[in-house]
């Protein structure tokens, strides 16, 4: 049994166990004058499983984008690992995404000309990890998702369920501290849903903080906390 490096030592700012891993205060995000997301306060503790639910278009994905730093709020603060996201340098933010964040996008977003294993390990490329080592790691994680046979195929040749599992494998390849998943069980069969749930539970058990946007009552049931977003307004459930 090996002990993982504590989260606090990997980040530039120290996150104490009592502190929030993610904190949003007075956050607003507007889209083309007709949609806005407003969050007065949101705290996510390290190791928690937080679920966000709400109707389609309510702002769940926008919230996940703001927390993962792939979009920025118009006002307010997004504190990630104890530091305001807007104060991260470009290099520090890249390092954070590479080492501590795992993101499962709603629409998978694979690079179509690269095989599955290269898609899964793309975040390891700038770390200088060799091709052999990347392939080894891809094989290991794809074994967990019963996708070993697919590793050399184009992602376009995978079924919807296989793509979803491959996308989750990509999000987990760096063993992230914060896993952000957007609608992981939508449009997939029951077997894939179970597989995804099993992996999320396993990750939470090993200390990963999970933030999931979902409609799936099964996923909501396993969450420690869940919040509802209704037409851009953030409500605690």
């Amino acid at each position: 049994m090996t002990t993982r490096t504590p989260l606090s030592s990997q980040t530039s700012s120290i996150v104490q166990p009592s502190q929030s891993l993610v904190r949003l205060t007075q956050v607003e995000k507007h889209y083309r004058h007709h949609f806005s997301l407003q969050i007065d306060e949101l705290d996510i503790a390290p190791g928690a499983w937080v679920a966000i639910h709400g109707k389609s278009g309510a702002g769940k994905s926008t919230l996940l984008h703001l927390i993962s730093g792939i979009d920025y709020p118009d006002s307010g603060k997004v504190i990630l690992f104890g530091k305001n996201l807007t104060t991260y340098s470009e290099a520090a933010l890249a390092q954070l995404r590479r080492n501590q964040l795992g993101i499962l996008y709603q629409r998978y977003f694979f690079i179509p000309h690269l095989p599955v294993w290269q898609n899964i390990t793309s975040k390891l490329v700038p770390d200088g990890i060799s091709t052999v080592e990347r392939r080894r790691r891809a094989k290991l994680i794809l074994e967990e998702f019963q996708l070993t046979e697919m590793m050399d195929r184009s992602p376009q040749h995978l079924s919807g369920g296989e793509q979803q599992r491959a996308a989750l494998a990509r999000a987990l390849i760096n063993d992230p501290d914060l896993l952000i998943v957007d609608e992981p069980t939508s449009h997939v069969d029951n077997e894939t849903q179970s597989c995804i749930l099993r992996h999320l539970q396993k990750r939470q058990a090993s200390g990963t903080t999970i933030l999931v946007a979902t409609h799936d009552p099964n996923l909501l049931r396993h969450a420690d906390t869940h919040y509802e977003i209704d037409n851009g307004n953030f409500l605690a459930s």
Binding site: M1, I70, Y72, L93, Y105, K123, P126, G128, S130, D175
Partner: protein, 407 residues
Amino acid sequence: MTKSTPADHSNPTTPSSPGDKPGPWSRHFNLVCAAIENLTRNVLVYLIASVALITGLTLLLTTVAVSEGLKTQALRAVRSGADIYCTWDYFGRPGPFPRSEIETLSSIEGVTRTIPRIIGRTQVADELAIVVGIPLHALSDEKLQLSGALPVPNPDRPQVLIGYELARHLNLNVGDRLTLQNVSSIVFQVTGITKTTSSLWSAKAIVCDINEAVILFDEPNHVSDICLYTLTGAERRTQEIVQRTHERVKAQTQEQVRNYVTLGMTLREGVFSGFFILALVLAIGSFSVITYHGFAPRRREIALLKAEGWNTTEIIEMIAVENTFVSFLSTALSLILAIIWVRIFRAAMIAPVLIAELPLFPEMDIPAIFTPLCPVLATLFSLVVTMSGSIYTTWRTATAPVAAALQ
């Protein structure tokens, strides 16, 4: 909270052995490999994007090579020619040179030899030929590459030396007979044919004795110009004397002629500069649109890499490596195409811009020299095109909010 993992070798994030720790250059090596991977998996996209670039480069390389070949030939011809060229000033333009002046020019101090020339045009069958009439004994000193022999004065059977292209076109061989349109009563015998490496104008030339040229053009009292040969180092002084003593004679030294030739070539090359700028703009535009700016999958790919933890510098480094490869490959392909264009298609549509009276599709070999400067120039050109067409747009995409670029 402290995270722990159950294992070691089964954990994808654990290196397989301590030796797998990345070295300082591993990151760059990985980015080069990623660039090659992108290229090999998107060959068609890059090929389409590079069409304008390759077209521009082929045009550039062909022009530079033909221009260089022509310049070298012209300068070689000038070097092996006379020391001073004298023409008669006729309303400010070169006009017929009175033969009576030859005697006085020969008597100038420092002049060792005086060779009058008659240069004109005539029709041979359906081909326009250039007749060069000179005292044939002067030919013996010329460094000509030919098959057969030099013509010699022969009043019974006038002899001529003809250019390679004319011989090919009229299907003439050494020993054949030839009549010209001007005076069909004179039957010439072909004693020699110049080879392709001789200067371009001579490829369509008929070199005969000056006395036969006098009959051909019916001009007994005038010649086209006079070539003076002087003592070594006496060119300038002789030129001054000629200008001082013969008001209507315009004398030009070999050095001046050489400068005119070089200038003329430079001006012709300048005509192509406009085409190159146009080609450059088109190439940058098409490269940018097809590979990056207007190519949504590529923008999404960049955004995805950014979301996965690549920083802008790493993305630009990968794109720059891709473009460097594209530049080298485009240069190599363009060089091959340019060589084919010159050697097989005789620089069709390009040579006529540089050489007067040449048809769009020349039937004669065009002199061309591919100097080492050609690939260097082409590589620089293609680097400018690919980098200009990609780096800025990549940077724009990489610095834009990832969420927007992913849509």
